[in-house]
């Protein structure tokens, strides 16, 4: 296959680039922190090269539509599973627990 990867879009026709900036949200800061802890010298769960590869494994559609930090956190989840730090079931169970908890708080 000589096809280009979903991320490799340099030079393709596109509209003007949106250059608006916004302050980082709490969610974005958290994602950044989680990534730093996982890839840092203590855990060394994965390299930034592996992160890039996981992000580049998105479908064309997801790559285009997901936000920057959403791609990050999804890639981190896939790599945690790949490196057998947590299983997909463990992550999903915990997400469900947290979802139920916050639903209660919000109610």
């Amino acid at each position: 296959m000589t096809e280009r990867k979903v991320n490799d879009i340099g030079g393709l026709p596109a509209g003007p680039v949106c250059q608006d900036e916004h302050a980082s949200t709490l969610h974005e800061k958290r994602v950044d922190a989680i990534l730093k802890i996982l890839s840092g010298p203590k855990l060394k769960a994965f390299t930034s090269d592996a992160m890039r590869r996981a992000i580049e494994s998105n479908t064309k559609e997801d790559y285009r539509n997901l936000g920057y930090y959403d791609k990050w956190i999804r890639a981190a989840r896939e790599l945690i599973i790949e490196q057998q730090i947590l299983s997909r079931e463990e992550i999903e169970t915990r997400v469900e627990q947290l979802r139920a908890k916050y639903k209660k708080v919000a109610a």
Binding site: G10, D49, R53
Partner: protein, 106 residues
């Protein structure tokens, strides 16, 4: 990224004319698609580095790859380029992605 020393004779010299290969992209590929098949000139030899296409799969990234800085003419990269013919673009390219152009040594 840690740079490792280059052995004598391991790297192409600064000024050498090269062409970017048309390999199928690795699953993690650091060579931009728009440079495939384009001819340019080495402007810097950055050192040896672990191979990112292997690091991306939790491997040690060996063999080490020589990383070059290569300059291309914008007019060679883009069809119908309307800027100055002097405009260039510089990219970092690993050794397995370039081939020397024989008989045209600078």
């Amino acid at each position: 990224m840690t740079a490792f020393a280059i052995r004598p004779g391991q790297a192409l010299p600064v000024g050498a004319p090269v062409r970017v290969r048309k390999h199928p992209p690795e699953q993690h590929c650091r060579t931009p698609f728009y440079l495939r098949g384009i001819e340019g000139e080495i402007t810097d030899v950055m050192g040896c580095f672990r191979d990112p296409s292997l690091l991306a799969f939790h491997k040690p990234g060996l063999p080490l790859r020589v990383l070059y800085r290569v300059r291309f003419k914008q007019a060679d990269v883009w069809p119908n380029y309307s800027g100055s013919p002097k405009d260039t673009v510089v990219a970092d390219i690993y050794d397995h992605w370039i081939e020397p152009l024989a008989g045209e040594k600078a």
